[in-house]
Symmetry: C2
Subunit: 319 residues, 2 copies
DNA sequence: TTAATAGTGACATGATTTGTCACTATTATA
DNA sequence: TATAATAGTGACAAATCATGTCACTATTAA
């Protein structure tokens, strides 16, 4: 390959990687003159790379969104395979990426010689993924996926048991199973993980007002384990004032034995499911200073978060 | 784009299309000298196009299998989409094309800038197609698909109701549904269309000895319609000798009324399902000259085919 | 033997790419 | 307001690359 084509391809990869750069910088990196880089960038621009430049100090070039990759040569078999894999997905209704995939497939098709096109047309009718008849339109898949990837909170209207509720959720991911799309998420309304059916989501938009929680380490691959984790039990100990003992005896006597001392104070020592932490956190916060949770640390952490959140809210309201 | 790169790409498409060509031919087509084309072909070869040449009259160039397409530039979004669509299919066990897809995805990944790779790595765990747990290894998918596309007969060992039978089938196509692969085919053992589960196929190889039937117009999209077609009824009329009447009265009295004339000969006039044609064809062939089928034409056609086949077989055995 | 084919090397010519230089224009900031 | 950092242009010479021509060699089918 000629010196120039080679350089253009490398240049393309470099600008895609840097996103922001100056002509001088590239000239040094590629050991050519500024003039040459300028000419090359003009060429790339002509090839469709979305370049934008600003003069002045701190100016320079930028690649806008919609970058394009350097041209890639696929073998016939690779192209056919990709074509098929993607084509076979067409029955999965409302796939995200739908338009991009179809644009890409058109490119492949365009560069294929006639006989390969024929082969593909033949195979189209002989290879398929049948998805179940139970199939509902799921909008917002892209939005949910985007929110999952970038850790954002989404405000949705959700139809459950035929009533419409409004919730704020932070998606973990989306997946398709027997014809339906699901979105496991953290639900801020229930303060816990919940599984949503995407076709029951009647509206969705990003909600910047709620602060997202850190779900970077939770994804489709490990959320089951984490869920099971939550059914694990943890050692639980709470110290109670006299008032606390009375409240707990009336509210929690069906769950725990409340131990009482001679002076009327007391304690509870038992195990709780991790999944019940949100409930206990709210409850013991409600008891205020009449309860002092000593373990498990997960419960203490949860309470601290709630308290901080509450505090923040009051600050904003009363200042 | 320079004159040369342009020509190289067009040359690539041209050789892929022609498969076989001479240098002189291309030189004329592209209006350049033989020498230039020779140089260009060397370049293409260097780029990975699998060229092969032979000298002498009737010699020339050929492109071997594993052709490569001219390089295609995808946008970032297209690449990511394709990547995902294909990636999400990984749970569909024993997909045909598996190796090719993974090779292609590696190419995409290679040309992606780092931040897009990160994005993909993030999304990998947040987007999926879950396939049902019921999932069995299906080998031979590629072979069956190949047979379907090229109208070939396959000899399989098939496990049905826990017994192993040996069959010759001509696949119509393959499809995946709730975790299993199916292969609707024409079965030469049953002389009818049957649906096979690919995971129950214990061995499969192309069988050149059986002459394939013409299934070019039957594919996944219309085979149901054709099957329903077969449940349609057709007017049926058979003329019977005295011997024929007796045989039919003992064999078919539960299905039809056998009309008898004074001289002992008779006839049956009724309707039959098209799907029963193979059965009746065999039966009336067994009656030899004691039966004369007058309609439906589908039955007559089927009998003619069987007779021709039988005849052919005897010819080969006794000559 | 002949004609058709691929392939090579050398060289002149023409085309393209590159570098240099001298400019203009814009803008942030000291 | 001056200065420095940036993009961008035009002209031209020098360097590199692409092409055609020609004279070859080598192989093979008919």
């Amino acid at each position: 390959m000629s010196n120039r084509s080679q350089r253009l391809i490398e240049l393309m990869m470099t600008v895609n990687r840097k996103r922001k750069f100056t002509v001088k910088e590239l000239a040094e990196e590629f050991n050519v003159s500024r003039r040459t880089i300028l000419r090359d960038l003009q060429e790339l621009s002509g090839l469709g790379v979305p370049l934008y430049s600003e003069v002045g100090p701190h100016g320079g070039y930028q690649v806008l969104k919609e970058r394009i990759l350097p041209p890639i040569a696929f073998t016939e078999e690779e192209a056919v395979s990709i074509f098929f894999a993607s084509h076979a997905l067409r029955h999965f209704s409302s796939l995200p990426f739908e338009t991009e995939i179809s644009a890409a497939l058109k490119k492949f098709y365009f560069y294929m010689p006639g006989d390969v096109r024929d082969r593909i047309d033949q195979m189209k009718n002989r290879f398929d993924f049948i998805s179940p008849t139970r199939q509902a339109k799921s909008s917002y898949l892209s939005l949910l996926l985007e929110a999952a990837v970038h850790q954002k909170v989404v405000h949705i209207d959700y139809e459950s048991k035929s009533e419409l509720t409004s919730r704020k959720i932070q998606p973990i991911g989306i997946y398709a199973s027997v014809g339906l799309w699901y979105c496991p998420s953290y639900c801020f309304t229930r303060d816990d993980f919940r599984l949503f059916r995407c076709d029951k989501i009647h509206s969705a938009k990003l909600d910047e007002s709620v602060k997202p929680i850190d779900l970077t380490h939770i994804h489709l691959g490990n959320r089951q384990a984490i869920k099971e984790e939550k059914h694990k039990k943890a050692d639980f100990f709470v110290e109670l004032s006299r008032e606390g003992v009375q409240r707990c005896e009336s509210d929690l006597s069906r769950r725990f034995i409340v131990n009482v001392r001679e002076d009327g104070t007391g304690w509870i020592e038992d195990q709780i499911k991790l999944s019940n932490i949100p409930f206990f956190a709210k409850y013991f916060i409600g008891l205020g200073e009449d309860a002092w949770v000593e373990r498990p640390p997960e419960l203490i952490e949860n309470m601290k978060q709630r308290l901080a959140k509450l505090l923040e809210k009051y600050k904003n309201n009363f200042v």
